[in-house]
């Protein structure tokens, strides 16, 4: 494998890790109520 391929893989993997962290953090079970609250707030009379 040449340098370009290794870089390519590294960047791909790095992006995936960041993505997994965001998903993990967003979907943390204990946050469910809090995280989903805004969708009800916008339904208020405006």
């Amino acid at each position: 494998m040449d340098l370009a391929s290794i870089m390519y893989l590294a960047v791909t993997f790095g992006l995936f890790v960041i993505f997994a962290l965001i998903v993990g953090n967003t979907y943390k079970r204990k946050n469910k109520q809090k995280k989903e609250a805004p969708k009800y707030r916008m339904m208020d009379d405006d």
């Binding site: 993505f19 009800y40 707030r41 916008m42």
Partner: protein, 471 residues
């Protein structure tokens, strides 16, 4: 606490003017579709296909598309922030400048002042007007958000802010040019660089002007129309950030097999495939919000527009990545297939969601019920059928065209001359033009319905009046 006094007159004006430019865009589109069938319909120097086609695209994007964005953002931002628009004066100036810009763009394009950069054909003085317009608009929206009374910013506001920033960056960079005279300039970018910058702009203008804003509308109008909240706030977080991160890598899928560096093409291809995920994040969020509510597809015409709209978005974001694959691009790029794709996005996705928004607004800004639901349904079927005829005919002709361009004899020679392949397109161009006419009739039904609502609509149910403060 009393209701804030929302500004609705300015929303009315933007809705009305965006409809005017929308009709112009579709009408010019129908005209150029007939010019492609019969070259004698070109009346030089002003009314030729080459000069009218940029007017069609730019009236569609900047007149109808951006005009609707102005109307909807100004409406939504006040409701979501529970506060009146930051500056009504600025918004009135914006309305004036908006129409001046669109008229100036149409006149200069007709005169042949054309940079040839697609969706950015206007020459530098018009570019300056557009920049001022966007800055004025952005300041007003952002200041309203900063002064908001509701701490939490709803999903729609994220997409709105991303669109404000994205369009500003994209448009300004692609506009960089050295003026020679009042209406002629040369881009500071040359050749391959110019191509790469243009399609970074071109593709992401679709992201920031024709994807993020309709998504902002969709996330707002769907729950408001069905009365049921969006399925998942968390899914929308993931979809939003992935979408605005990934889009910017994909411009070069418009340039596959051209002389731009290979690695840019490969990245564009990979990210285009990945974009399916965030796009479908929103589609799934829309569909799941309908759980237990599917009967509304029958009972509530607004839902019909919105759900068909998001369905076309879903199809669009599957077809797009497919086209971004090198082998597939080699076959269909430069053929009629591509306009078929684009028009599913503009006529299907963007316009269906925008008109749903307008139908939703009418009772709330005019204080009158929509004049006729049967007419709204007629409008729906005309535009959906018109668009399907339009796009399907172009997909078929695109494949036929590509097949003929690539056909080779046993001795390695080409089977068809270029003209022989063009002649085969005429029947499909007729079908396309008919699809366009049906679509235009649909728009006219819509405008009649809007006009009659304003003139003769019934007083709304008391609840609505109570809900809406009127400025």
């Amino acid at each position: 606490m009393g209701k804030p006094q929302y500004h609705t007159d300015i929303v009315k004006s933007f809705v009305n003017w965006s409809l005017v430019w929308g009709v112009v865009a579709v009408l010019v589109g129908v005209i150029v579709s007939f010019q492609m069938i019969n070259p004698d319909l070109n009346y030089p120097p002003y009314f030729t296909f080459g000069r009218l086609r940029p007017i069609h695209t730019n009236a569609g994007i900047y007149g109808w598309g951006v005009g609707t964005i102005f109307a909807m953002f100004i409406y939504m931002v006040q409701r979501l922030c529970k506060t009146p628009l930051w500056s009504l004066g600025l918004a009135r100036f914006q309305l004036w400048l908006f129409n001046a810009t669109i008229i100036a763009a149409a006149v200069t394009l007709l005169l042949g002042y054309n940079t040839t950069l697609e969706y950015h054909e206007m020459e530098w003085p018009i570019d300056l007007m557009i920049v001022v317009l966007w800055v004025v608009f952005s300041i007003n929206i952002i200041m309203t958000i900063i002064k908001r009374k509701e701490e939490q910013m709803y999903i729609s506001l994220w997409y709105m802010m991303a669109a404000l920033i994205g369009v500003a960056i994209l448009f300004t960079v692609n506009a960089l040019a050295v003026p020679v005279s009042a209406f002629k300039s040369y881009s500071i970018f040359a050749g391959t660089n110019s191509a790469n910058v243009q399609w970074w702009f071109g593709h992401n203008a679709v992201a920031m002007a024709l994807t993020a804003p309709p998504l902002a509308m969709f996330y707002y109008f769907l729950p408001k129309s069905t009365g049921v909240p969006i399925y998942s706030h968390r899914l929308s977080i993931i979809a939003f950030w992935s979408l605005i991160f990934m889009y910017l890598w994909t411009g070069a899928h418009h340039l596959l097999w051209t002389p731009i560096p290979d690695w840019i093409q490969t990245l564009a291809m990979a990210f285009s495939i990945m974009l399916i995920a965030p796009s479908w994040g929103s589609v799934i969020n829309g569909y799941m919000s309908m759980k237990g509510q599917w009967h509304q597809m029958r009972d509530n015409y607004l839902v019909k527009f919105l759900i068909l709209g998001i369905t076309f978005y879903g199809l669009q974001t599957l077809q797009g990545p497919m086209q971004a694959i090198r082998t597939f691009s080699a076959f269909i790029h430069y053929t009629d297939w591509v306009p078929g794709h684009i028009h599913m996005g503009t006529m299907g996705w963007v316009s269906l969601v925008s008109v749903a928004g307008i139908y939703f607004l009418l009772p709330r800004i005019y204080g009158r019920e929509v004049y006729s639901i049967p007419l709204a349904n007629l409008h729906f079927w005309l535009v959906v059928i018109g668009q399907l005829i339009w796009s399907t005919s172009m997909w078929i002709s695109g494949i036929l065209q590509a097949g003929m361009w690539n056909a080779m004899n046993a001795d390695g020679s080409l089977t068809y001359t270029f003209t022989e392949t063009m002649v085969e397109m005429y029947p499909y161009w007729w079908i396309r033009a008919i699809g366009g006419v049906i679509y235009l009739i649909g728009i006219l039904v819509f405008i009649y319905n809007v006009y009659m609502t304003v003139q003769k609509g019934k007083e709304p149910a008391p609840k609505l009046l109570e809900v809406e403060g009127r400025a």
